[in-house]
């Protein structure tokens, strides 16, 4: 399985660079947060005051945005991130059984990361693969026609 690129360790200098790169962007906060997360794997707490200062916002406002959106993480994710669709079309195609199989195989509930940091199992509501479900995004790559067995195989590859 392809893993996501290993995130960089926190560096105030590279965070400042990322923020500066959006100097000319209108409404730059979401693009900046996406880029910070791409670089560090999550939005580090240390980045919040830097962003706030650059955009003339309060730290509370930046925190408010980071915490509002499901995508932004405040702590690192597992080495593999599995986003499993829980929405109606996938339910109608057996999604709940796939979800149960994933939870049982990893021994973590939806929304959590295995203790060894190997896999984060997250809920997502629709991937636009509604006639090919159950579907998931595995490190950003779409996977469809999942069965409980296929899900377990897929997770086994990610586990050490």
């Amino acid at each position: 399985m392809k893993h996501r690129p290993v995130p960089n360790a926190w560096s105030a200098a590279s965070a400042a660079e990322i923020i500066e790169a959006h100097d000319a962007t209108d409404g730059p906060l979401l693009p900046i947060l996406h880029d910070l997360q791409a670089a560090f794997g999550f939005v580090p707490q240390q980045a919040v005051p830097l962003v706030a200062a650059a955009l003339n916002l309060s730290r509370a406002e930046v925190h408010g945005v980071v915490s509002f959106y499901h995508d932004f993480r405040s702590e690192p994710a597992g080495r593999t991130v599995v986003k499993l669709c829980r929405a109606e079309a996938c339910q109608a195609r057996g999604g709940r059984a796939v979800e149960q199989a994933a939870v049982a195989a990893l021994c973590v509930p939806m929304g959590e990361t295995t203790a060894d940091g190997a896999v984060s199992l997250e809920a997502v509501y629709c991937l636009g693969l509604c006639a090919s479900g159950p579907a998931a995004l595995v490190d950003g790559a779409p996977v469809a026609r999942l069965t409980p067995d296929a899900m377990v195989d897929l997770l086994r590859e990610a586990l050490p």
């Binding site: 979401l30 929405a87 509604c130």
Partner: protein, 520 residues
């Protein structure tokens, strides 16, 4: 001579191994010294056939599907490079009844052309709408959109021409065109297919919209759950810029136009137009109270035209073929075609574009071929997570905004999710409340608190407390009439339709038929 082979690059194909199929075909071709060009087209939209490989032959494009990478050596041995027979040969895809029965105006090119080839786009009629728009003044373009009867395809069904006119007449030093590509409704994927399979169509529609309302800047807000669509559309923008379709020379040099992609961050509510604008501005995706309308004070306080992908993608046809040609399709006040998305437990799942008026039953039983699982159909949810559940008894409802509204439902973005007889409707009702609780932006109380209380109430009902059905009804009414936007306002639809049409799952019938005191 090189053989052109089509292997879809659509998410639905990639998700079942299309990339590996493309690699295997390259390998098989190299092994026999055959020169091939592999085109990563969009999907034609019948997903059971994915990966649908097509080979260009003298007789036309011959399809083979569904193909997995492991099938490729066998295909090569059978001679598929020349369109030879094989168990998985389906002939010309366009001859399949699923495709023959469609009226593809918006999806005319999707699955056929190379999505990233402007030459292909023009060869199949692209840019004709823009050329026509350049012959008209702004008022005349808006008039065409009005005459076509086009209504917003995002869900609300508001007349597009009126919106365009309002923005055109709104004074402002800067106006914006915003495309809502935050397609979050379960059971829908038409926006995604356009972004991946015919991105220039959306670009053309937005440039025309810019001309019509006097905007020079456009934003396309794509949800982060669509990584391939983001990649494909961003690439198409670069190509369009390179060709002068965007930038200073856009729109024939009459006015510049630039488009920027913005990526969402996993908030369903950002599909609501004012929440989307907040998000674009870099704020929490919270709904704004209306008025002011986005047409008057939208993005950064400027007049903003905000339309769904399918609305903007319908415009090039309307301009190139004339408003009447579009309005000739449809029924009542629902004019034109609707790209309907058949999803869930359905045999022929996928994209079916047709004129308004087709009934739900025709779509599910006839075109869709019933369930994939082979079990009987029990319910269909139309219009996403905020759409009503329809029982078989209502399958004669035609796809028409008013007809669905009259039966307590909505078309929404035209996703149809089919459920078989194993579905527990009380569980679906609970899910609707749970989803609303997860995705509520928190701005208004009926939605923020109502969804949580609704989940709890449904749990009590499931535990046998039939009296709580009255509480649920009250709560739904409060949410429906007290919420700021459709998320809280329409969650009552799936919940109450489930209660009304499937009372047996809520143990209502059973309890009513049991007398309180048994006499004998």
């Amino acid at each position: 001579m090189t053989t052109r082979i089509y292997v879809p690059g659509d998410s639905a194909a990639v998700a079942v191994g299309a990339d590996a199929v493309a690699d295997a075909i390259r390998g098989a071709a190299a092994a026999v010294g055959r020169e091939v060009t592999i085109v990563r087209n969009g999907s034609r939209g019948l997903f059971e056939l994915e990966t649908l490989v097509e080979v260009e032959t003298a007789e036309g494009r011959i399809g083979y599907g569904p193909i997995a990478a492991r099938d490729v050596p066998g295909l090569a041995t059978a001679g598929f490079f020349d369109g030879a027979p094989h168990a998985k040969r389906i002939g010309k895809p366009e001859d399949l009844p699923f495709f023959r029965r469609q009226t593809r105006l918006t999806f005319a090119r999707c699955g056929i052309t190379d999505p990233l080839s402007l030459e292909d786009y023009e060869a199949y009629g692209g840019l004709a709408g823009l050329a026509r728009a350049l012959e008209l003044d702004a008022a005349a373009i808006v008039e065409q959109v009005k005459l076509s009867g086009l209504r917003g395809r995002g869900g609300a069904g508001f007349p597009a021409g009126i919106k365009w006119e309002t923005v055109r007449n709104a004074p402002g030093p800067q106006k914006y065109v915003v495309c809502n590509a935050d397609e979050g409704d379960s059971g829908t994927f038409a926006d995604r297919m356009i972004l991946e399979g015919d991105p220039f169509l959306l670009i053309e529609g937005m440039v025309i919209a810019g001309l019509a309302v006097g905007a020079t800047k456009g934003f396309v807000y794509i949800r982060s759950e669509y990584p391939l669509a983001i990649r494909a559309f961003s690439r198409a923008l670069e190509i369009a810029r390179g060709a002068g379709l965007l930038g200073q020379s856009a729109a024939g040099g009459r006015q510049g136009f630039e488009i920027e992609v913005r990526v969402g961050a996993g908030a369903y509510v950002c599909g609501e137009e004012t929440a989307l604008l907040e998000s674009l501005e870099g704020k929490r995706g919270q709904v704004r109270a209306k008025p002011p309308l986005p047409a008057h004070q939208g993005l950064f306080g400027r007049p903003t035209l905000i339309n769904n992908v399918l609305t903007l993608a319908a415009v090039p046809f309307i301009l190139s073929q004339g408003a009447q040609a579009y309005a000739d399709f449809g029924m009542g006040r629902s004019r034109g075609t609707m790209p309907i998305q058949l999803a869930g437990d359905i045999k022929n799942g996928g994209l079916f574009e047709t004129a308004f008026g087709v009934t739900l039953g025709e779509l599910i039983d006839d075109i869709g071929g019933g369930t994939l699982s082979g079990r009987p159909v029990r319910a269909a949810q139309v219009g996403g997570p905020l759409g009503a559940y329809f029982p078989r008894a209502l399958f004669d409802t035609p796809m028409d905004y008013e007809a669905f509204a009259a039966r307590g439902g909505l078309i929404g973005h035209a996703g149809v999710v089919v459920f078989n007889d194993s579905v527990d409707m009380a569980r679906q009702a609970r899910f609707a409340m749970e989803f609303c609780a997860v995705e509520s932006c928190g701005k208004c109380t009926p939605c923020r608190l109502g969804a949580v209380r609704g989940t709890e109430t449904l749990d009590r009902i499931a535990a046998g407390s039939a009296a709580d059905l009255v509480t649920l009804e009250d709560l739904c009414e409060t949410m429906q009439f007290g919420s700021l936007c459709a998320l809280g306002g329409l969650t009552a639809y799936p919940v109450m339709s489930a209660v009304k049409h499937f009372p047996e799952d809520f143990q209502v019938l059973q309890r009513q038929s049991e007398p309180a005191l048994q006499v004998d």
